[in-house]
Point group: C2
Chain length 595, copies 2
């Protein structure tokens, strides 16, 4: 039976040394996030995740969700009780605005907790996770009456929310959607259509479900420019907030999926359901992207989270399992075999996981800080820069962290040998669950296109310049001697990234296929450099702490891992650059019928 322990010590290291949380105490919400408060949230949150949610993860996978003949959906045993505890503990309110009953804590603190949640039970975490996305959209584009009506019960968790984009014939290309919204006399709309892949679309955890649905109004252009967004509740809601009649929306079926079995992925049928326009007509996609951007960061967290929990279990197994002898001679000759942790190749798999997990944790929390700063920093310049940085790095966090999250889950499963393939050990579930994160909220190929096709050139390349300056600044101030082991390969990797950027600028303008052909390689390169940047910051902090004699074992391990990252991750940029510079000619040369 797998276990999970929240890596609170490491989160705190990142919050202190990468995020520098205490520097922002003057900003709204940060003042409340005192070190003691944050420590209490992480400790109690980690304990809740380990003790309440993690034990439900494997049983939830085995049982899955059940759709009944009346369209209702039952979540696995224990989920309803865990969800009630989640709400009672206020775990869904950390980041929400105090105006709607939230705690108003910084996004970066909420994101730290999100990692624990996603490690402990990804399928469970998606129910409140989708709801937070829907809340973000209502908060961003709803009018005051809509916010007052829908947000408080959603923040409290009495109601949950969903995102309804995909239809059977379209996912990436939303211009093709066919769901229709016909205006009623009272100003509401009648929504008709079929949406698929609706996570948490129907379940038994909450009293009501608030669907946010993309649809086209009558006479709207039949393209992305004709899409509007609607609030379509499962139960109609009176002015006093009381639940009324069942709306004409129902779950037609649930998907049998590779993983996240305990989250209901629904086909939702809208049959003239009452909906309320959210934001402006034809601006539906823009509103949806507000949710989507937050959601993409959250999916990056899932990649890390599955990597982390898989790593933890692999370490425990590698300490416990005895098989063969160390290559350099028996380490525990009194036993019949050594623990497999003595084997370099087992350590390689574990260190791959550790170096990614710790780097990704830093990058994600640093990214979450930018989300806070984009809203709350003191000056417009600071807000703009934070917004530029997180816009640039969102596709990298989503794409790179989920690709690597799968790799780490696979390598951790590999440590178990044949046992890793057997359900009861839980490792194969981490792999199956991690896999979806590369696909949803825009496949990683779409993330890469967003990066090279939009984000690089956005505002004349301002975000990219700002980020490169940050990385170079960190390299410039890093100690030449003590940090040479990391500085020098990071500079080389950065050189590959910059050369690739130049290559894209020179070639993709004339032939956009060149950007498409190199986009995933470029995204991975930027991910490697972005984690390298974080490792440089962390290694410097670890050296300083060691010089002061603080928490020696922790900081020494941090430095060993930094060295591992330098030796075994950073050199990959050269091969990625070679792939990118190979261009698109060969892959486009193949006639469609020859594949």
């Amino acid at each position: 039976m797998p276990f999970y322990q929240a890596p609170v010590r490491d989160t705190q290291f990142v919050l202190s040394n990468v995020v520098g949380l205490e520097r922002y105490a003057n900003l709204p919400g940060f003042a409340e996030a005192t070190p003691d408060m944050v420590a209490a949230v992480l400790e109690a949150g980690g304990k809740f995740c380990s003790e309440v949610l993690a034990p439900l993860n494997l049983p939830g996978d085995i049982e899955g969700c059940t759709r009944h003949a009346d369209g209702s959906v039952t979540t696995p045993k224990g989920f309803k009780s865990a969800y009630d505890q989640f709400c009672e503990g206020g775990w869904g309110t950390l980041m929400a605005d105090t105006a709607w009953g939230g705690q108003g804590l910084p996004y970066v603190v909420g994101t730290a907790f999100q990692e624990y949640l996603q490690s402990a039970n990804m399928a469970f975490a998606m129910y409140p996770g989708l709801s937070e996305g829907a809340q973000a959209a209502i908060e961003a584009v709803g009018d005051e009456a809509q916010k007052a009506k829908w947000l408080p019960p959603m923040v409290a968790g009495r109601w949950t929310g969903t995102m309804n984009l995909t239809e059977p014939h379209c996912g990436t290309d939303l211009g093709l959607i066919r769901t229709r919204a016909v205006r009623n006399d009272d100003g509401s709309y009648a929504i008709t259509g079929t949406k698929i892949f609706i996570s948490a679309g129907e379940h038994d955890l909450a009293e009501n479900i608030v669907h946010l649905v993309l649809a086209k109004t009558e006479g709207a252009p039949d393209t992305v420019k004709g899409i509007s967004l609607f609030i379509v509740p499962k139960f109609l809601v009176g002015d006093d907030g009381s639940l009324g009649a069942r709306n004409a929306v129902s779950c037609g079926s649930i998907e049998h999926k590779m993983g996240i079995h305990a989250n209901a992925t629904c086909v939702m049928n809208y049959d003239g359901a009452v909906g309320y326009m959210l934001g402006e007509e034809f601006k539906g996609l823009k509103a949806m992207f507000i949710m989507m951007n937050a959601a993409r960061l959250g999916v990056g967290v899932q990649g890390l989270a599955q990597g982390e929990v898989a790593y933890q279990n692999a370490v425990a197994y590698a300490r416990d399992r005895r098989q063969g002898r160390a290559l350099s001679g028996a380490k525990e000759p009194e036993a019949k075999a050594d623990p497999i942790l003595v084997h370099p190749d087992v350590r390689r798999m574990l260190m791959d996981g550790r170096a990614f997990n710790e780097g990704a944790r830093a990058l994600i929390l640093w990214g979450a800080l930018q989300v806070d700063l984009a809203k709350k920093a003191a000056t417009p310049e600071e807000r703009e820069m934070a917004d530029d940085l997180i816009s640039l790095l969102t596709p990298v966090i989503k794409g790179y962290c989920t690709d690597k999250g799968l790799d780490v889950a696979v390598a951790s499963q590999q440590v178990f040998g044949g046992h890793g393939y057997v359900r009861e050990w839980g490792m194969e579930q981490f792999v199956r669950d991690a896999r979806i994160a590369q696909i949803y909220e825009g496949t990683n190929g779409i993330q890469a296109l967003d990066l090279v096709g939009r984000k690089l050139a956005m505002n004349g390349g301002r975000g990219l310049r700002a980020w490169l300056a940050l990385v170079k600044g960190e390299i410039a101030v890093a100690d030449d001697a003590a940090l040479a082991f990391l500085k020098s390969p990071l500079e080389k990797a950065l050189g590959d990234l910059e050369a690739s950027t130049m290559w894209l600028m020179s070639n993709a303008m004339g032939n956009p296929d060149e950007a498409g052909a190199g986009s995933v390689a470029y995204l991975h390169m930027m991910g490697i450099v972005a984690l390298g940047h974080m490792w440089l910051v962390m290694a410097g902090a670890a050296q300083a702490a060691l010089a002061a004699g603080e928490d020696v074992a922790f900081h020494e391990a941090k430095l060993v891992t930094a060295r591992y990252y330098a030796e075994r991750f950073l050199p990959d940029t050269a091969a990625l650059r070679a792939r990118l510079e190979a261009g698109s000619a060969t892959m486009m040369a193949m006639p469609a019928e020859a594949f």
Copy 2:
């Protein structure tokens, strides 16, 4: 619903141009393998796989195997009928010796068919696959009476065989096994113990099951040197071959696994079961490795096979699914969207699959030819060289082809977007099934240790030298102008491999951990170069065919794919070499308690 089409044209290209089958017509078995005969086997075999086995793959995954209270196991609906057709068609007898009712065809021809079988239905293919491994061991070390008794019904498929190595506490480290064999008065043995992960350990397809079981005799050394091998049939067999009493061996449970659900993975309980020693006492492991080496090649085939079927389905989806527009402007403006095959990143995923699949097919069939030549070549020198080559490359074929097979299955699944995560499309099954191939028959980490720890230095490095000479010879004769696109990156990759070999020789002698730390990187490097070697041979053949105006579309596609391999696979050796040369110091520096 996924489909499968046997790639007969490509197999024939490899048999003609890489294997050069006609050159060996003077050898036993090869004379019968005329081009017409081989074409008929591939066509009919491919048809059987596509039409009978492939349609059972997804339903078999969903239904899985069922163990009943009496210990009997039922395979999924349709499996028994398909197995009967498999036996009637003689599909299990292709490679078997004519002395036991086989067709005596070359191993290379049988291996070509194995690929089709494993693509169409991997879980099904394992029932006869395990049986062929058991037959190989009986043939290699059994006495004449044993061969005459056990082989004919196994070759005919009336009985199947299994391999029983693993126990709950040991897999890789077989010296730890506890199963005991106590000699009976009649010369047979009473076998007692528990074996786990026994593929095809119990099922309803055959009349009898012949278990080959590793056990320790009384007084044997409690190490690998004390292991003997035993034949333990499910039903005892009379001298006339008739089935007698049920033996004291039973299936205690079946595993719930990530994939290959339709193959029963059994816990087998031996409770004083009657067994017969196979081969010499204490030489059990050696006999088992006869099966294991053939099995490892077969597992490499599984990696290719899952990559191939996943690729085929991804191509079909990419042609059919319309979403968005080509980056360079609409390709089919009359439709609302272009097929996603227009997108470079979709083509990248497909070409990654294609370049691997075709290269791996060539390497595997070339390897299978060495198995034939090691037994049948005219001179001892030729036999020795073939044996050297296949000994060296077996861990590479197993390790590299299964690692890449998973990658290709994952990328092919990714082409489907969200649909790839849903069971009914079948793509997620390919990923789950492919995953086991990296684990069983020795994890890929064990393969890498076998390569760097044993195979490189075997016979003073004779095998490695022979293989390097082959690759260099091919480079030397390749046309400088027409093949420069492939020669030059292959030379560079070969340079990385040779430098890494030197590095291992210089460093691993003093510290074996250096070999362990770099072993997987080295194996991947050798895999990349080995496929590059095959691509050079194939590209030359394709150019020659084009010069002669033969089958233009096929050979042009082959050249495009060769170029893709040169551009996007070969450059990876540099990063792998950097990882290898990073050595073991960092990963070994982490204290066990710090992980």
